[in-house]
C-alpha cells in the first residue's frame, strides 16, 4: 500500500517536472539530447578536436537561425527571404561599432559584448521596417518584398566601402583573446537555448494562436478581432532582432565578414532548408535537424574535397524531396510516431 503511494508521488513529481519542461518547450528526450550535445566537447578527447568543436558551433549557429526563421515562416506563413541579409546587417553593425582598427573610417571601439546587442537592435529595426512594408502583402508578394529588401541591404553594404570595405570584407574584433573554440561553443549554445525558450514562450501564449490565425487566414483572423498589424510587426521585429544577434556572434567568432558569404540569398535558402526539413511551425524541428545535418554535410565537405559543392546539391535535393513527399518534416514525423506509439501502448494513468 505504502509502496504504491510513493510510486504515485514519484509519478506525480515526474509529471510535474515534465509539465514544467513542456512549458519551456522541452520534452524529456529533447532535454537529454541537448545535455548530451552540451557535454559532448568536454567528454572525450575525440570531441575536443578543433574541427569537431567548430562543427558543433556551426550546428548550434544554424539551429538558432532556423528557430528564428521558423518563428516567421512557420507561424505567420510569410517566408522571410531577406533573413540572411538581416543577419548580415546585424553582424556588420556590431562589427563596425566594435571596430578599433584604422582600416575603416570609424573606430568607436565598443566592447563586442555591448555592440552585439546594438547590432541586434539595428537588425530588429530593419525587421520592423520590413514588417511595415509587407503589411499589405501576402504570400509570394511578402516573400519577394523581403527578398528585394535583402538585395538592397546587401548592395548597400557592398557600396558603403568606407564603413565596410565592401567586397574586400572587414575583420571585426573577436569576443575573446583565446584561440580556443570551446568558449564560443558555449556562447552560441546558450544563445540557441535562450532564443528557443523565448520564442517558444511567445508562441505558447495567445500571441502564438494569433500568429497561426493570421498565417492561415488573414481575413478570418481580422474578423475574430485580431489586429494583424500589431502581431506582424512584433513577429518580424523579434525574428530580425535574433537574426541580428546571431549575426553579431558570427562577426565576433569568425572575425571576418564579406557581404556575399553572409548576406546572399543562398544563405537564406540553407536556413530555409533546415527549417523546412525540421518541420514548419515547430521551432524545435530545426534544432533537431541542424546538428546531424551539419555533421553530415561537413563530413561530406572534408572527405570529398574533389567534389566541391556536393553537400549543397544534397541539401537542395533533400529539401525538394521533403517538400513534395513529406511536407510536415521531421517534427511531423515525430508527432505521427507519437500517436502510433500511444495507440500501441495506451496509458494506464488515464483509466
Amino acid at each position: 500500500m505504502s509502496s504504491s503511494k510513493t510510486a504515485q508521488e514519484k509519478t506525480n513529481a515526474w509529471s510535474k517536472f515534465v509539465s514544467f519542461l513542456s512549458k519551456l518547450g522541452f520534452s524529456p528526450i529533447g532535454l537529454v539530447l541537448l545535455i548530451i550535445i552540451a557535454i559532448l566537447p568536454i567528454s572525450s578527447p575525440y570531441f575536443q578536436q578543433e574541427y569537431i568543436v567548430r562543427w558543433l558551433i556551426m550546428g548550434a549557429f544554424m539551429a538558432a537561425q532556423s528557430v528564428a526563421f521558423d518563428f516567421t515562416a512557420g507561424y505567420i506563413n510569410i517566408v522571410n527571404f531577406g533573413f540572411a541579409a538581416l543577419l548580415g546587417f546585424g553582424a556588420y553593425t556590431s562589427g563596425i561599432l566594435s571596430n578599433n582598427t584604422p582600416f575603416i573610417s570609424v573606430a568607436p571601439g565598443l566592447s563586442p559584448w555591448i555592440s552585439i546587442w546594438l547590432g541586434a537592435i539595428m537588425a530588429g529595426f530593419v525587421g520592423f521596417i520590413l514588417a511595415v512594408l509587407t503589411l499589405r502583402l501576402r504570400g509570394i508578394f511578402a516573400a519577394v518584398m523581403a527578398w528585394f529588401l535583402g538585395i538592397a541591404l546587401m548592395g548597400l553594404i557592398n557600396n558603403l566601402t568606407s564603413l565596410t570595405r565592401g567586397p574586400l570584407g572587414m575583420n571585426p574584433v573577436k569576443f575573446l583573446e583565446t584561440t580556443n573554440n570551446l568558449p564560443y561553443f558555449y556562447i552560441v549554445f546558450a544563445m540557441m537555448i535562450g532564443i528557443y525558450i523565448i520564442l517558444k514562450l511567445v508562441t505558447r501564449s495567445h500571441f502564438g494562436l494569433a500568429f497561426k490565425a493570421i498565417g492561415q487566414n488573414l481575413d478570418a483572423a481580422r474578423a475574430s478581432g485580431i489586429n494583424p498589424t500589431r502581431y506582424l510587426v512584433f513577429n518580424f521585429t523579434l525574428s530580425a532582432f535574433f537574426a541580428g544577434l546571431l549575426g553579431g556572434f558570427y562577426a565576433h567568432f569568425y572575425g571576418s565578414l564579406t557581404p556575399s558569404t553572409l548576406m546572399h540569398t543562398s544563405k537564406t535558402v540553407e536556413i530555409l532548408a533546415i527549417a523546412y526539413i525540421g518541420g514548419r511551425g515547430s521551432l524545435w524541428g530545426g534544432i533537431a535537424i541542424a546538428f546531424p545535418f551539419v555533421f553530415f554535410i561537413e563530413y561530406l565537405r572534408s572527405n570529398f574535397t574533389d567534389l566541391p559543392g556536393l553537400h549543397l546539391v544534397i541539401y537542395g535535393l533533400l529539401m525538394i524531396v521533403v517538400m513534395i513527399f513529406y511536407p510536415n518534416g521531421f517534427s511531423g514525423f515525430v508527432a505521427w510516431a507519437k500517436t502510433k506509439l500511444d495507440a500501441l501502448f495506451p496509458k494506464k494513468a488515464a483509466s
Partner: protein, 350 residues
C-alpha cells in the same frame, strides 16, 4: 484589378477619375520619359541603344516568368538557372566550332554557327523544362493544391539551389565565355557604334517574343494556353489536356530563358551563378508589370533597363542593384499587383 471589368456609363467618367484609375501608369510613363530624355542628353544614342538591347533581354526573360505564373501559378525562382543552362549549352556547342573555324576559316559556317548554338540551347532548355515539370511539379500537383503558390515557389528555390551547385560540382566555378559570336567589326548606327553581337541578341529576343506572341494569339494550342490561364476548370471542361498544356508552358518558358542565356554568352559568360543577376531583373520586371501579365512584361523589360542604364550613368555602376531594387520596393508598396495590373487567378492567394 476588378475595377477594369466594371462597366460605367462613359458620360459619368470624368477626367479626374480616369486619371485616378490609371495613376500608376501615368506616373511611370512620365517618369520614364524624363529618364529617357536624361539618358539621351547625358549618354547620347549609344546609351539609348543600350537601354533597348538590355530591355529586350529582360523582356524575353520576364515573359517566360509571366507565362509560367499566369498559366501554372508558379513563381519561378529557378528562371536564372535556365539562363545558366542555356549559356553553358551554347558555350559547349559553339566553342568546338570556333576552334575548328580558327583552323579552317569558312565564312558560311561562321555566320550560321552562333544561330545553331542558340537554337541548340533553346532545345536543351525545352527538354530541361519538361524534366522539371514532369519530375517535380506534376507530383506536387498530384499530392495537394493547398498553398500551391508558396510551395511551388519554395520548390523552385530548391531547384535553383540544386542546379547552381550541380553546375559547380560538375563543371567547376570557372568562367567559360566567347569573346564574340560573329567576327565582324562594330557597325555605326546614328552616330553610335554597336557590336553585331548585341544587335543580333536584340533581334533574337524580339523575334522570340514575336513568335511567342503569334503562337499564343493565333494557334489552337496558344489559345488553349490562354484558356488555362483564365480558367483551369473551364479549360478542362472543353477538353483541353491540362497536363500537356502545363508541361508545354513550362518548357516554353525555360527554352526562352535558355535562348536569352545563349545569345548573351559574349556578355555574361557561363558560370554556375550567372543566373542570379538576370533573375533579379526578370523579377523586377514582373513585379512591376504585374505577376502573370505577359504584355506588361514586355514594356516592363524596357522600363527596368532604362532604370538600370540611368543608374549606371548618373550614379555609379556599383549601385545598379541598390537603386532599381529600392524603386521596385516602392512599386511593390504602392501598387502590389503591378502598374499594368494582373487578373491572374490566385495572385492574391495566401
Amino acid at each position: 484589378m476588378a475595377k477594369d471589368s466594371i462597366t460605367r456609363p462613359a458620360t459619368q467618367e470624368s477626367l479626374m477619375t480616369r486619371i485616378k484609375d490609371n495613376l500608376p501608369i501615368i506616373i511611370v510613363s512620365v517618369f520614364s520619359i524624363i529618364l529617357f530624355a536624361a539618358v539621351y542628353i547625358k549618354g547620347g544614342t549609344s546609351q539609348i541603344f543600350n537601354v533597348f538591347i538590355t530591355g529586350g533581354m529582360w523582356a524575353l526573360l520576364a515573359v517566360g516568368l509571366a507565362l509560367v505564373f499566369g498559366v501554372m501559378n508558379i513563381p519561378h525562382f529557378a528562371h536564372g538557372e535556365s539562363f545558366m543552362v542555356g549559356a553553358y549549352v551554347a558555350y559547349f556547342t559553339f566553342n568546338p566550332i570556333r576552334e575548328y573555324l580558327q583552323q579552317n576559316p569558312s565564312k558560311f559556317i561562321g555566320i550560321i554557327a552562333p544561330f545553331g548554338a542558340i537554337l541548340v540551347a533553346g532545345l536543351a532548355g525545352a527538354v530541361l523544362g519538361v524534366i522539371i515539370e514532369r519530375g517535380i511539379f506534376a507530383p506536387l500537383r498530384h499530392r495537394t493544391k493547398e498553398g500551391w503558390v508558396m510551395n511551388a515557389f519554395l520548390l523552385t528555390v530548391g531547384i535553383s539551389f540544386v542546379l547552381t551547385n550541380g553546375a559547380n560540382l560538375v563543371l567547376g566555378p570557372n568562367f567559360r565565355g566567347v569573346p564574340r559570336y560573329w567576327d565582324v567589326d562594330a557597325v555605326e548606327i546614328a552616330g553610335a557604334y554597336m557590336s553585331v553581337d548585341r544587335l543580333i541578341a536584340f533581334g533574337v529576343s524580339m523575334l522570340t517574343i514575336g513568335v511567342l506572341w503569334f503562337f499564343l494569339r493565333r494557334t489552337r494550342i496558344g489559345r488553349a494556353i490562354r484558356a488555362v490561364s483564365q480558367d483551369e476548370t473551364g479549360a478542362q471542361l472543353v477538353g483541353i489536356n491540362l497536363n500537356f498544356i502545363q508541361t508545354l508552358t513550362f518548357s516554353l518558358a525555360t527554352a526562352m530563358a535558355a535562348i536569352s542565356g545563349a545569345s548573351l554568352l559574349f556578355l555574361f559568360q557561363a558560370y554556375p551563378t550567372v543566373g542570379a543577376t538576370p533573375l533579379y531583373y526578370a523579377w523586377y520586371v514582373v513585379m512591376m508589370a504585374g505577376l502573370g501579365n505577359v504584355a506588361g512584361a514586355i514594356i516592363g523589360g524596357f522600363i527596368v533597363a532604362l532604370l538600370q542604364t540611368s543608374t549606371q550613368l548618373f550614379v555609379a555602376v556599383s549601385w545598379t542593384t541598390v537603386i532599381p531594387t529600392a524603386v521596385m520596393i516602392l512599386v511593390l508598396l504602392l501598387a502590389p499587383s503591378g502598374i499594368f495590373g494582373s487578373d491572374v487567378k490566385g495572385v492574391q492567394e495566401q
